[in-house]
């Protein structure tokens, strides 16, 4: 897959997106663009619709209205170029699989129906394990992993997707400091390879360290742009109300 885009085409462009569960709007009239090659953070209080935004882009949650363009295209075909790291707690880790089994799932989308992973996929899976520093866990049952190891497993799986745009739902949630540094390192490395990353994030203290650009969300879009411009007290108040941390 190519990682070169004309700089004018954003990796992700959303216009007038509204999502509702039953009658309550979770996202209201969102319009934003994510420049290709950036690491973009998505912040906002609980219930702001951060995960819903990711799930809508991935096609898991249907939008009530609006338009989502991936690399300029509207069809589902571009979704193949999007990788997904769901929240760690969204699956039951007491599943009979080894770490390698789960990482290999990253190539299932590219393989398509009926085709099984081949030797090349296996080699790439081992490379991904090495990148995340969990080569020693290859044959470990996933029911015996720590939180940080689970997150590394999910990230290794995402690497195997070999996507151009990655959507990550709270990859730093509940992991130890070593893992957090390792994951941040992998993200920089992915950016260096020309990938675009959109990352749902909770910890406001590390926003400036990890991200070049920021989406601030509270059902409506509060602000978006380079971190240096939009990460201000004023927009934080608008996002979190008076009591932001």
């Amino acid at each position: 897959m190519t990682t070169e885009h004309a700089p004018s085409i954003p990796a992700l462009a959303i216009s007038d997106l509204t999502v509702a569960y039953h009658e309550t709007p979770v996202l209201w009239d969102i319009s934003l663009t994510v420049p290709a090659g950036s690491i973009t953070g998505v912040v906002g209080p609980n219930g702001a619709g951060k995960s819903t935004l990711i799930k809508t882009i991935m096609g898991i949650v249907p939008p009530a209205g609006g338009e989502i363009r991936l690399f300029g295209g509207l069809s589902g075909k571009e979704r193949r170029r999007v990788g997904y790291v769901p929240q760690r707690a969204s699956v039951d880790w007491d599943f009979p699989a080894t770490v390698l089994d789960v990482v290999l799932m990253g190539c299932y989308g590219r393989l398509g129906w009926f085709r099984r992973p081949r030797r090349g996929d296996l080699e790439r899976a081992r490379e991904a394990l090495e990148t995340l520093g969990i080569t020693n866990l290859e044959h470990r049952p996933i029911s015996e992993l720590s939180g940080g190891q689970q997150q590394r497993t999910f990230l290794a799986r995402a690497l195997l997707q070999d996507a151009d745009l990655y959507l990550m739902d709270e990859p730093f949630q509940g992991v130890d400091a070593t893992t957090e540094r390792a994951i941040a390192g992998v993200m920089r490395r992915m950016q260096g390879e020309g990938k675009t990353l959109v990352v749902v994030h909770h910890n406001l203290e590390t926003v400036e360290t990890y991200f070049d650009s920021l989406i601030m969300l509270n059902v409506r879009l509060i602000a978006q742009g380079p971190v240096a411009e939009v990460f201000t007290e004023q927009s934080l108040r608008a996002t979190y109300g008076g009591g932001f941390p």
Partner: protein
């Protein structure tokens, strides 16, 4: 009892039914939909009795008996469609929808069964075998049919192995990888319905669910791979089916269903108890070992958890 031709046919029939249920049960177990099989099985009673009644009216006892299996299949599928209709069209949650469905379809089936018995239609006695199972009367043709069904379920699971594995572990990731949940969900329901209907003759509608749940629960204890789990579950299911049939044959008129259910459940209980790593005993041993390693003192001198007030960690204690 000696192993003559008939016994072999009966045994292989119940073993095939058990193997199918064991394999399919792994997916329902892992998706936490163990009760799904029970709903399908119970609900198929309405299909069985309805088909029997219709067959009797249209062509007599022989036709009625031939329509039982297709009727069960239809009953199972319609019940699942009904569950998803109720879930989508009303605010009712899936578990409640299943409860409503089983009440309607099983209740209706029992009602129809009563009527058929009161009417004393020719051949109606065979229907009682579908409540608690009676393997002894399985014919050669039925075993052949079971073999064909088992092969098709096996082929289906093999073909869609990768997709079903991903869907069972992480449905959102599966969807985002381009595998529509609707297709995979319907595929799973289809194999469940087929496995359930195949097992009805030996297990009966009431206890069929145990043959789906217990071998899977037992097999889960012994392995860290899905493939191994499924192989083991089918072997245990086949074993439960065969031993249950043998045991119930030693006493006259004992339905096979309960005996097979007991055999399958005992496999599960034993596995939960003694399996390495995951078993209850293994965990107790590990806990003891950990305690000895981390707290090598007699219990009064143990720091931390036992006397937290003395080191100022207790939330209620003085700081």
């Amino acid at each position: 009892m000696y192993l003559d031709h008939t016994v072999l046919i009966v045994l292989s029939g119940s073993a095939l039914a058990g193997a199918m249920a064991g394999a399919v049960g792994c997916f329902t177990y892992l998706r936490k939909e163990g009760l799904l099989g029970g709903i399908v099985a119970h609900s198929s009673l309405l299909g069985i009795t309805g088909a029997f009644l219709l067959g009797s009216l249209l062509g007599g006892a022989e036709l009625a008996e031939r329509w039982i299996l297709p009727g069960a299949l239809l009953g199972g599928i319609v019940s699942m469609l009904f569950v998803s209709l109720v879930t989508r069209a009303t605010p009712v949650k899936p578990d409640t929808a299943m409860g409503v469905t089983v009440a309607l379809f099983f209740g209706g089936g029992l009602f129809l069964l009563r009527i058929l018995q009161a009417l004393a239609l020719p051949g109606h006695r065979v229907l009682r075998d579908y409540l608690f199972g009676q393997a002894a009367t399985i014919t050669r043709q039925e075993t052949l049919l079971l073999l064909i069904l088992a092969c098709s379920v096996g082929i289906g699971l093999f073909l869609f192995w990768k997709e079903l594995k991903l869907y069972s572990f992480d449905p959102h990731f599966s969807l985002s990888s381009g595998y529509p949940s609707r297709i995979l969900n319907h595929l799973l329901i289809l194999v469940v319905v087929v496995a359930v209907v195949a097992g009805l003759r030996t297990m009966g509608v009431v206890l069929m669910v145990s043959l789906l749940v217990s071998p899977a629960a037992a097999a889960r204890q012994w392995t860290k791979r899905l493939g191994t789990m499924m192989g083991l579950a089918s072997i245990l299911g086949a074993l439960a089916g065969a031993t249950g049939t043998l045991l119930s044959a030693t006493a006259r008129n004992v339905p096979t269903g309960p005996v097979i259910a007991l055999a399958a459940t005992s496999f599960a209980l034993i596995s939960l108890l003694v399996a390495p790593r995951r078993g209850i005993l293994a965990r107790l041993v590990q806990q003891r070992r950990n305690r000895k390693e981390f707290f090598p003192f007699p219990s009064q001198d143990r720091p931390g958890r036992d006397r937290p007030d003395q080191i100022g960690l207790h939330p209620g204690g003085r700081a």
